[in-house]
């Protein structure tokens, strides 16, 4: 466990050295710019739009970090040949994969936490600017704690995406891994269409394939409650628990696959 923690910390430091946290500057500029401009661009429901933009930005920035850092975690070590030094050390390949995964999960946690603070800061500013009678008409308060539910589920989605990236990173080049991971992330958002595929095709074989894909591909709709939270709708604890359990099981499965692939890889 200690070894995994050390590798994780190292992976975190590496991503900081790679200036991954610079994205926070871009995020801050986006949020501040949006908060200043939104009042000019729309007529009412500015807070809803800021929340939509903030949550979507957390998701998009996080997805890009998860994919572009995730695909390099293992494949970069192989391409730079630093993997030889690593595998010669008294650490198992499983520890290496899990440590790298935990390191990027930590990087994402820091990113998401800072972005969350930025969203709340902008919303607090809007709340302070808005007269109480206007605030009374909002569907949900500006500083709604329920936003944390949406952000927490986005984080779980990012953990799934990192796991996908690591699996590809273990056997493919960085470029192909990025393409595959992007493909799976996009397919993961179409899971509901796959489920309803039987309504648009008659072929039982095609229906069976679609059904199988529905269960095999990452079902990212588990983690999407952004619009509901923004409209002030409650997200049940059962639903959150189910999403967390799904993320846990799916990530574990992918990491098992990654460890298996990486363990069998020959570096000669």
């Amino acid at each position: 466990m200690k070894t995994i923690a050390r590798i994780a910390l190292n992976a975190f430091r590496e991503s900081v050295r790679d200036k991954v946290l610079y994205n926070l500057v871009a995020f801050a500029v986006l949020m501040i710019g949006a908060s200043l401009l939104i009042g000019q661009l729309t007529a009412g429901q500015e807070v809803k739009i800021i929340k939509d933009l903030g949550l979507a930005s957390v998701s998009v920035f996080g997805t890009f970090i998860a994919i572009f850092i995730g695909i390099g975690l293992v494949s970069k070590e192989v391409e730079r040949r630093s993997v030889y030094a690593l595998v010669a050390k008294p650490i198992s390949r499983a520890q290496l994969v899990l440590g790298k995964y935990a390191g990027l999960a930590l990087t994402l946690a820091v990113n998401v936490a800072v972005m969350t603070l930025a969203i709340y800061a902008v919303l607090a500013w809007w709340q302070a600017q808005t007269p109480p009678d206007v605030r009374a008409g909002w569907e949900a308060p500006a500083l709604d704690p329920a936003l944390l539910t949406a952000i927490g589920l986005i984080y779980l989605e990012l953990l799934v995406i990192v796991a996908i990236a690591i699996v590809f990173s273990c056997f493919s080049s960085a470029l192909l891994s990025a393409a595959f991971t992007f493909g799976l992330v996009i397919a993961g958002h179409f899971s509901q269409d796959l489920r309803n595929f039987n309504q648009v095709v008659d072929s039982p074989a095609a229906q069976a394939v679609a059904r199988a894909l529905y269960y095999l591909l990452p079902n990212l709709s588990f983690f999407d409650v952004k619009a509901r939270v923004v409209h002030g709708e409650a997200v049940g604890a059962g639903e959150i628990g189910l999403a967390a359990a799904y993320a846990c099981v799916y990530v574990s499965a992918l990491l098992t696959l990654a460890v298996w692939v990486f363990s069998r890889r020959d570096f000669k």
Binding site: T42, G44, Q45, I49, D52, L53, S59, G137, A227, H231
Partner: protein, 306 residues
């Protein structure tokens, strides 16, 4: 030779970058003056299908809805303020349709969208049918929203002049939990005496007072009330002018002459500060052409020729 002597100094590179970057902007500006774009591009709805847009938006439907909403506002505003060519609002309904399909609970898209759609030309497309369709879709998504029923009643009253339908919608709205008490009396008043300025004033006052949480709706209702005030003022001024003309006033008729005659204290102006029009040879009073209160509700104005 030391390595850093081979590197160009920042003091040279930074100003060089700024100068070159500014020069590129200057060249763009120069190009615009040499070859100005005289063809206004047609507005295009790149993706007309809500189902396609929803799929392409992945899990960012709500953000896509926000972008389409902003585009709808800009399309409405740009078209309304256009100074040349016909004012066609052809993309307004498709944009609102996309917005509400992507985020079926987008409250202002229904309420403002209905106001935009029902506005008579040239201030809007004059499509109360589409406004009602949009609001009914809003009711499917949020059956608890009495405000949408009230808005349908407003469109029926103001644009379709179907006072019975308007009263029915106000009554239905008043039955919903949380609806204000005055909706019921509004329904009764509309049923009894729809179609006059007093009825319209009661409706807009109700909307203004019920929209404390929304500045845009409140401002719009206030403007409508100012239009009604202006129409009342035109009628009152017309009576004064008619009496003055009957007593043998000399042409050309002017406000200054009326002030000198002691009939007015000063040049009369509407709420926007624009002086009312007085026909110098006809004696017809009207709201000034430059007034921001225009276009006025034609059905509530007393018909007169200038």
């Amino acid at each position: 030779m030391p390595a850093n002597r081979l590197r160009p100094p920042v003091t040279v590179l930074a100003p060089l970058f700024v100068v070159l970057y500014a020069a590129s902007g200057g060249l763009s500006a120069l190009r615009d003056t040499v070859a100005p774009r005289d063809v206004v591009r047609e507005s295009v709805l790149y993706l007309p299908s809500p189902a396609v847009v929803s799929r392409l938006a992945l899990s960012y439907d709500a953000l896509a809805a926000d972008l389409y909403w902003i585009r709808a506002i800009q399309h409405f505003g740009d078209t309304r303020l256009a100074t040349s060519g016909p004012r066609r609002y052809e993309l307004l309904y498709p944009l609102l349709n996309l917005t509400t399909a992507l985020d079926p609970k987008f409250n202002i898209a229904y309420r403002f969208g209905a106001i935009f759609l029902s506005e008579a030309p040239p201030g809007g497309p004059g499509r109360p049918d589409l406004a009602i369709e949009l609001l009914k879709r809003g009711l499917e998504a949020r059956p608890d929203r009495w405000q949408y029923m009230q808005d349908i009643g407003m469109v029926e009253y103001m644009n379709r002049h179907d006072y019975r339908a308007a009263a029915d919608w106000f009554e239905r709205a008043s039955d919903l939990p949380g609806a204000p008490w005055w909706l019921r009396s509004l329904a009764a008043n509309t049923r009894a005496a729809g179609g006059d300025r007093a009825g319209a004033r009661a409706l807009w006052t109700a909307l203004r007072d019920g929209a404390a949480d929304n500045e845009w709706l409140r401002n719009d209702a206030t403007r409508r009330l100012q239009q009604l005030d202006a129409l009342d003022a035109v009628d009152a001024l017309q009576r004064i002018v008619d009496g003055w003309v009957a007593r043998g006033a000399q042409k050309p008729y002017t406000w200054e002459a009326l002030v000198r005659a002691g009939l007015l204290r000063g040049r009369p102006a509407d709420a926007s500060g624009t002086t009312f029009f007085l026909g110098p040879y006809t004696g017809t009073v009207d709201v000034g052409d430059e007034s921001s209160l225009r276009p006025l509700p034609a059905d509530l104005a007393t018909p007169r020729s200038r």
